[in-house]
Amino acid sequence: MTDVRLAARPRALSTGTVSGLWRRIAAARWSYLYVLPMLVLLLAFVIYPIIASLGYTFYRWDGIGEPGDFVGLANFSRVMTDGIFWGALRNTFFYVLLVVPIQLVLALALALVLNNRRLRLRTFYRTLFFLPVVTSAAVVGVVVQLLFSNFGDVVNDVLMSLGLTHEYIDWLGDPNFAMIIIIGVGIWHTLGYNLVYFLAGLQTIPDELYEAARLDGAGAFACFRHITVPLLRSVGVVIVLLSVIGSFQVFDLVQVLTNGGPYFATEVVNSYIYHLAFGGFSGSSVDRDVGLASAASFFYGLLLIVFAVVQALFLRALVRRRGGRA
């Protein structure tokens, strides 16, 4: 990077016509060129829709033609007083609170095992655990749905023969089990991501540290606690952050497995927004209202920003307190 700057400076100064900012851009033009396609896509498919949908929040609009029924802030008011939205938010947090810690613990444990150089076929196992990640969530959902609808009876028969239950359970149609199934599938489906991240983090820890610790008489747990955990902390924070963001975006599994039902038991905010905007086959009970869906999206976004700020303040306070103790 330093070399590039040094090389670019004499050329820029020799022209004497470009500003400092332009000079820096010109010096790193290849970097900008590489970033450009992604930037264009981001602007077209992320930034523009966000800005455009802000305008829709002030209209009651079914998505057909141009919006014309101006309702001011009424859509935000409706969302804030809608019990179904708050139920969906509660379900979303429930999903995140279960998926993130369970998945992280499992991913770390697996990463520790798969990082062992004495383990034979470890590349095969890594591939095996990463495979679900490259499978579409929608496909996973369809397969799981088919499994439960076709073989749910078999599971029930086994459970009943073991005396664990006395009646058939509709795994995806029972409000007591549907969310648990979605969480289980969610953990399995994206476990591979966190596994790979942890493996990458583990491979940055020098072996010498472990060797020195063992020479000092440290056992496996002591090595894990005093070497692995502290040196994984910075990577771990990023993994937690990515995992939380990913879990808050849960949608496709819910849509395919339960469509938010039964009676909103598995409705998460993203499926709630989708149902508001597009109705779906259950649309007989949902008015298509892109304006209301946009308002729900923005309100949810605001809540997540507040949540992120609180989380950041909490982490900062935690770090300060630890720093004070040290």
Partner: protein, 486 residues
């Protein structure tokens, strides 16, 4: 045989040559694929899956009769049909002829300028081949212009299908060996109990597929109409102009009965999570003895070789239906895009689609009833099960149509409520809503509130409408009703 060895460069050359050849072939096209030299190509959209054989055959016959016109059919997914159509109109790629979305009302699409008026072709003579009152302002006519026409005849929307094999296995047969057709709610309870107990719990009395949230409302619709609730799950009770989920005890009574069936193990346990398609397949395999569905079930079953079933409609507490299915004399199905490049050819296809001969093939194929009464002769139907359905035509009557009495009522846009009936029914069935009568009354209040608000808003916009427009106090629900023009 010696192995053929290619260098990397040779391999790349070969791949480039093959790809280039394929590209050229793709650009050029084959003479067989080319359409008629100076022909017209029409884009046609629908959501018909089980009816596809009929549509394909009609396209073939139409093309044979209209030499140079080709119809290119695209069958879209049902629950995204409106979104896809809206996108197509926005991007200028709308089909020339298309099935009209059932929601929102046709008036909205006319207002958006999607549709071409058909008046220059749909002359008085053309319209005269349809039954009386087939063209109604506010239904398929707007501002005096015709935009579509009815296709199907009045027919029972839902039936209770019985698996003959399961019934026979359970001993539910008459002395002549035919299956006992249940008629009352108690008959169905007894049949479900017998099937479940005789099979040792391996086969269930009843099943449904509520994954798309539609099957529970079908059950309520079928049973409560039979018990004398004329609104079913679709409309207000036009005798009072109000929704009656909470005040008409049929709804709470039926849901209590349904819960009783569930608690006694008569209902297939996965019914809340499987789709209707899965439920139909499981029924045909004999996993349960009864299922509620429409005539659209029949063609796929028969194609799959399953014909051993019977059907009935409108079971009631007493055995005699107290209410019926009610239809409008005017309805709509197909329309022509306002942007159609070849409107005359588009009309020709629409006219063929609506023709009496096509309607006759529709009935003969077992897809439904035709708008032309002469086509609905059970004697002309070969399938015995479809013949049973055709013979049920009398359970569908013409009911009140507020838009005939006051066309302005068609402009009232009533907002849907949430939770609506599919949600509340699911909540009651799963036990999430413990107090069913209270939940039904709250639903009724929400719906009546939404209706009152919509009418008030319409009045505020200058429309001459009122809640009285929904009231037909002289309606005898056991007889066809003729709505007088306002």
């Amino acid at each position: 045989m010696p192995a053929i060895q290619l260098s990397r460069r040779q391999l790349l050359r070969a791949a480039a040559a093959t790809g280039g050849a394929a590209l050229l072939a793709g650009c050029g096209g084959s003479p067989e694929d080319a359409g008629p030299a100076s022909g017209t190509s029409l884009a046609y959209w629908d959501w018909y899956v089980s009816q596809a054989p009929w549509v394909d055959n009609e396209i073939k016959l139409f093309q044979q009769a209209n030499g140079k016109t080709t119809v290119k059919k695209t069958t879209q997914v049902t629950d995204k049909y409106l979104d896809l159509l809206a996108l197509a109109f926005r991007s200028g790629t709308a089909p020339d002829v298309f099935l009209l979305p059932t929601k929102p009302k046709l008036e909205v699409h006319v207002g958006e300028g999607w549709l071409m008026p058909l008046d220059r072709w749909a002359t008085a003579e053309w319209r005269s081949r349809f039954p009386d009152n087939s063209f109604v302002e506010g239904v398929n006519i707007f501002g005096g212009k015709v935009y579509s026409a009815p296709f199907s005849g009045l027919a029972p929307a839902l039936q209770l299908y019985l698996h003959n094999g399961v019934f026979k296995e359970a001993g539910l047969t008459n002395p002549d060996g035919t299956v006992q057709i249940p008629k009352t709610w108690d008959d169905i309870t007894r049949a479900a109990e017998t099937i479940t107990s005789k099979s040792g719990g391996k086969v269930f009395g009843l099943g449904f597929g509520n994954a798309q949230k539609g099957a529970l409302p079908w059950l309520i619709e079928l049973f409560c109409r039979g018990a004398g609730s004329p609104g079913g799950t679709q409309n207000v009770d036009y005798r009072t102009g109000r929704w009656t989920y909470g005040t008409d005890r049929n709804y709470a009574d039926f849901l209590a009965l349904l819960l009783d069936w569930k608690n006694r193990g008569f209902i297939y346990p996965n019914s809340m999570s499987i789709s209707d398609e899965q439920a139909r397949a499981f029924f045909s395999k004999g996993r349960f003895g009864m299922i509620v569905g429409g005539v659209w079930n029949q063609a796929p079953w028969e194609e799959a070789g399953f014909k051993d079933y019977s059907l009935m409609t409108l079971p009631s507490p007493t055995g005699t239906p107290q209410g019926y299915f009610y239809g409008s004399p005017g309805s709509y199905l197909l329309g022509i895009s306002a942007k159609a490049k070849n409107p005359d050819q588009a009309w020709a296809w629409l006219d063929w689609f609506y023709g009496p001969a096509a309607g006759k093939r529709w009935v003969q194929g077992g897809y439904g009833l035709s708008v032309y009464p002469e086509n609905n002769d059970p004697a002309g139907v070969t399938s015995p099960t479809f013949r049973q359905y055709v013979a049920m035509a009398g359970t569908a009557l013409v009911g009140p149509v507020p838009a005939i009495r006051n066309p302005e009522i068609a402009k009232v846009e009533v907002a849907a409520v949430q939770p609506d009936l599919p949600d509340v029914a699911a909540g009651i069935y799963t036990g999430q809503l413990k107090d069913a009568p209270k939940a039904l009354k709250e639903l009724e209040d929400r719906l009546n509130g939404a209706l009152s608000e919509a009418v008030a808003k319409a009045r505020g916009q200058g429309l001459k409408v009122g809640m009285d427009d929904y009231v037909f106090a002289d309606w005898d629900i056991a007889k066809p009703y003729t709505t007088k023009r306002g």
